[in-house]
Each structure stands twice: as C-alpha cells, then as structure tokens.
C-alpha cells in the first residue's frame, strides 16, 4: 500500500509541475466576472446564477482535466518507457494502476477544493450571507468529485490499451452519453419493439450514469439532498470504479511492454 501512496504522490507532483493547476486562474476570473455582473443585474436570482454557473464550471473544468490527464496516465509511461525502471522496483503491476488513479484523484480533489472556496467567496460577495442551504453546495461538489473519480477510472482503463486520441474521444463520448442515460431509457420505453426496449435498458444499466451525480439545478433552488441519495451515489460510484480498475489491472498485468 505504501507503494501505491508513493506512486500517487508522484503522479500528483507531475500534474502540478505540468502547470495543470493554472486552470484555477481561469476559474477565479470567471467567478469574479460573474459576481460583478450579477451584482449589477440584481433581480433576486443572484444566488441561483452564481451557484448554477459555479457548480457547472467546477464540473466541466474537472471533466476536462480528468479526461485529458487520465488518457495519458498509462499510455505516456508505456510510450516513453519510463515504466521500465519503475516496474523493476519491488512493486506489483496493480500498484501502478491504483497509484495513478489515486494521484489524479488527489489532483482533482485539490483543484476542486480551491474552486469551491472561490465559489463560496463569490457567493458571499453577491449575497452577503451564507445560509444553511449553502452547505448543500458541498453535497453537490461531493457528487461532482464522485463523477470525476468515475471518469478518471474510465479514462485510465482506456489508457491501458488505446492511444490518447482514441481514449479522449471515447472518454468524452462516455461522459456525454452517460449524462443522457436517462433519455436513453426513456427512448427505450417509447420504442415499439420489446427487444429494442430491452436493448436500451441494458445499455442504460451498463453505461455510467453521470446524470445521477448532477444535483446542481436542485441545489441551486435550495433543495436538500437526502442522505440516502448520498450513500447510494457513493456506493454506485464505488462499484463502477472498482469494475473499471479491475479491468485496467487485468489488461495492464498482461501487457508486453514494447
């Protein structure tokens, strides 16, 4: 396990040195501009706009980061042969996979934490108060983190056998389709033939249900997220991540390095 930690920390360090965290600057600018503009409009829905905009930006920035870094996690090391020296240290191949996952996860966590702080600052600037409902924002952020972790695991899996371009397209595709998975099931229910409905339902259950992690609209309207949903979503993410990482380990453990 310490091996995993060593690799995770190094992955995090690599992301930081790659100046990945600079995206925080853009986010900060975005939030500042939004806060100032919204302050001018002042039609009673400032909070709604800031929360919607902020959480959506956090989600999207995170998705981009998870995908762009994730698809290179394993591929880059295989291609550049940095793996040669690493895999001859006293570690097992699965340590490498889990370590990479944890490292990118840590990067996303740090990034998201800074952004959330920025969001709360903007919110305070605009509304001058922080109510209890605002802590639901943290729930929404937690769900975003779950979503990003799942996306990372999928990008990592793809990275084990596909080139970055292919992995990028597939990850993006999975994210988009997974966000519309509700509509896929509805499409199945609308269809005429039973086998089409069965097919659509199967696809719905196989695809990662990213829509389920999106409570941004509800939280923006001040709704409370039930604890049961938090537990269910956490479990769902966990199950799917384990499935993805198991597949990644199975593939990577059998790869002949060029």
């Amino acid at each position: 396990m310490t091996t995993v930690r060593i690799i995770a920390w190094n992955t995090f360090r690599e992301a930081v040195r790659d100046r990945v965290l600079y995206n925080l600057v853009f986010f900060a600018l975005l939030m500042m501009v939004a806060a100032i503009l919204v302050g001018q409009i002042s039609i009673g829905i400032e909070r709604l706009i800031i929360v919607n905009l902020g959480l959506t930006a956090i989600s999207l920035f995170g998705v981009v980061m998870a995908i762009f870094i994730g698809v290179g996690l394993v591929y880059k090391e295989m291609e550049r042969r940095t793996l040669y020296a690493l895999l001859t240290k006293p570690i097992l191949r699965w340590h490498f996979i889990v370590g990479k996952f944890a490292g990118l996860g840590l990067t996303l966590l740090v990034n998201t934490a800074f952004m959330t702080a920025g969001l709360f600052l903007a919110l305070y600037y605009v509304t001058r108060t922080l109510s209890l409902a605002d802590f639901q924002i943290l729930t929404a952020v937690y769900f975003i983190l779950l979503q990003l972790s799942l996306l990372t695991a999928l990008a990592l899996l793809l990275s084990c056998f596909a080139t970055p371009i292919v992995s990028l397209v597939c990850s993006l595709g999975l994210f988009i389709v997974g966000s519309f998975s509700q509509d896929i099931r509805a499409f199945g229910e609308m269809s005429q033939t039973p086998w089409m409905e069965g097919f659509a339902t199967t696809v719905y259950y196989l695809l990662p249900n990213f829509g389920a992690f999106n409570v941004i609209a509800g939280v923006a309207h001040g709704k409370t997220v039930p604890v049961a949903l938090i537990l269910d979503n956490t479990l769902y993410a966990l199950l799917y991540i384990v499935a993805a990482l198991l597949s990644a380990v199975a593939i990577f453990s059998n790869r002949n390095l060029k």
Binding site: I6, A85, I91, L92, N256
Partner: protein, 302 residues
C-alpha cells in the same frame, strides 16, 4: 544457488498489419549466471539481448520456457528488492531533477528520508553526477542519463545488477568509468549481467560470456576457454636470404623485407623446417593471443 537460470526461454512476436505472422526473437535460450560473476551477453544488434533482459525483468512475457532469478520467478517483489536494472537508453521523468528521481525510486525500498538523502548523495557522487543533483532530467545529455540510470540501478545495494548496453552513448572516459564500476561491483561480491555489442569491453571484464545471434545462444562459457577453442596460433617473422625465393603455398604478409606468417601452433616445427630449407632468416617467433573477436566471428560464420 545460481543467480539466473533460464530454461528454453522463447519469445515470439506477432508482426504484420492484418494477418499476424509470428516472428521468433528468442529461441530456446538456456543459460545460467553464477554468483559473483560478471556475465557478458554478446551479440549483434537485433540478436535478442534486450528481449532476454526484458523477459528476465518481467517487462514482457515468454511464449514458452521459464526463468528464475535468485530462485524466484521474474516479477517477484521480494526478488526485485535484491536486484537492480538499467534499461537500454533509459528515459526518466523529465520534470524531476536527478536527486528527486533517485529519491523517488529509493522510496520503493523502504528507506526513511534521512537514509534516502544519504544514499542519493553517495550514489550521485559515485556515478559522477554530484554537481547535477538539482538539474532537471530534461536537460541531461545522453551520457548523464546513462549515469543516472546506473545510479538508480545500484542505489539499494542489490545483490545482482542487470545492465542493458551500459556503455552505449558514452565517450571513452565514460566507458572506462563504467568498466571500473562493474569491477567494483564484482569486488563487492555482487553479480553483474550486462549486454553489449562491443567485444573488447566484454573481454576485459567478463568471467563468462554468452553469444547470442538471431535469437539463439551460439556459445557460452569462460572467456579463456572459448578463446582457446579457437586454437593457439603462432606468428613467424622471417626474411629471405639473398637470391632465395618464397616457398610455395605460404600465406604471408610482407612489409618491406620482412614476412609475417601465421600458423597454428601445432604446425610450428614443420614450418620452421620449411623455412630452414629455404634458407630464410627467422627474425622472431611469437605466440598470438586469440581474441574474443575471433571467437565471435568464428561463431557467426558457422
């Protein structure tokens, strides 16, 4: 216990775009490396040397056959702790400095921070990179990367080291330093297995060598034995007396008035007789020490 045991190690690669055709890059390799010996793995480029080392390091998997290092299968973490590996043309994380890279790798051996610092300093010194400790690896020359690679291979005092083309990319000074390092490792009681296509290096360093060509082991054994298999030769230098002609059927090289004639040792006295009959003036008779190169090319010709 032998440090390395390979038994019928075979590796096929699938080549071709659509219809995959298997190409055999290593064919039934069987060899042994003993404790505290320096073993040279020789062969032309593409012979399968790197493939062999990658198989031993569990970076690729054999099509058939098996191998054991220190009695354990390749990839066994308890064994990996006791061996070191230098890849061919090593490439490391270029956003790290030399010191950071060595520290990173050292972490896997369980050293605490203080011990790691000591080792990083010591081994950077040993490979001559002490002044580049805080230089980012992306700025390193090929020679510097090679040295860094050597440092990470031995930083944990392994019992056995596996070096893939350790002299490549080094200037003569660098090569000398690597040679000295290998001898030092041997003196420390460690085992060294290295591959190279530069024969003179192997000759001076190795206790035993294995010659690989086209994926097959052509010869394996102690340098003296292999070399002596070529048979001893002698060289007679002579001059012809005035008016005498060269005896027929001699393979000689002529420089001015002097003739040099190489013959197997067994034929020496018969040759001297012939020269006496021709009234040649014998200048010198010396034994020629055959080289590994001769042995090597002899093997290649077969």
């Amino acid at each position: 216990m032998p440090v390395v045991e390979a038994e019928q190690l075979t590796k096929d690669y699938l080549t071709g775009f659509w219809r995959k055709v298997p190409k055999r890059s290593l064919d039934g390799l069987t060899l042994e490396v003993r404790e505290n010996e320096v073993f040279g793995f020789l062969g032309p480029n593409g012979a399968g040397k790197t493939t062999t080392i990658k198989l031993l390091m569990n970076l690729i998997f054999p099509t058939s056959g098996s191998a054991r290092i220190l009695g354990r299968p390749p990839g066994d973490p308890s064994m990996l702790r006791r061996i070191g590996y230098l890849p061919e043309q090593p490439y490391f994380y270029d956003y790290l400095t030399a010191g950071e890279l060595l520290d990173y790798f050292a972490q896997f051996y369980g050293y605490d921070a203080a011990e790691r610092r000591r080792r990083v300093d010591r081994f950077l010194e040993r490979v001559g990179l002490a002044s580049s400790r805080d230089v980012q690896l992306r700025k390193f020359s090929k020679g510097m990367s090679q040295r860094c690679g050597l440092a990470q291979a031995i930083i944990h005092d392994p019992e056995a080291v596996f070096l893939d083309e350790p002299m490549s990319g080094l200037d003569p000074v660098g090569r000398r330093e690597v040679r000295d390092l290998i001898l030092e490792l041997k003196r420390e009681g460690r085992t060294v297995f290295f591959s190279t296509h530069i024969l003179p290096d192997a000759e001076t360093l190795c206790d035993r060598v294995g010659v690989l060509s086209d994926g097959r082991l052509r010869g394996c054994g102690a340098v003296e034995e292999l070399v002596s298999m070529e048979g001893q030769a002698v060289e007679i230098v002579f001059e012809l007396s005035a008016g005498a002609g060269l005896p027929d059927g001699l393979e000689v090289t002529r420089t001015g008035d002097r003739y040099r004639w190489q013959i197997p040792e067994a034929d020496l006295y018969a040759a001297i007789d012939r020269l006496r009959q021709s009234r040649a003036l014998i200048v010198s008779v010396i034994r020629i020490r055959p080289s590994l190169e001769d042995y090597f090319f002899g093997l290649m010709k077969k």
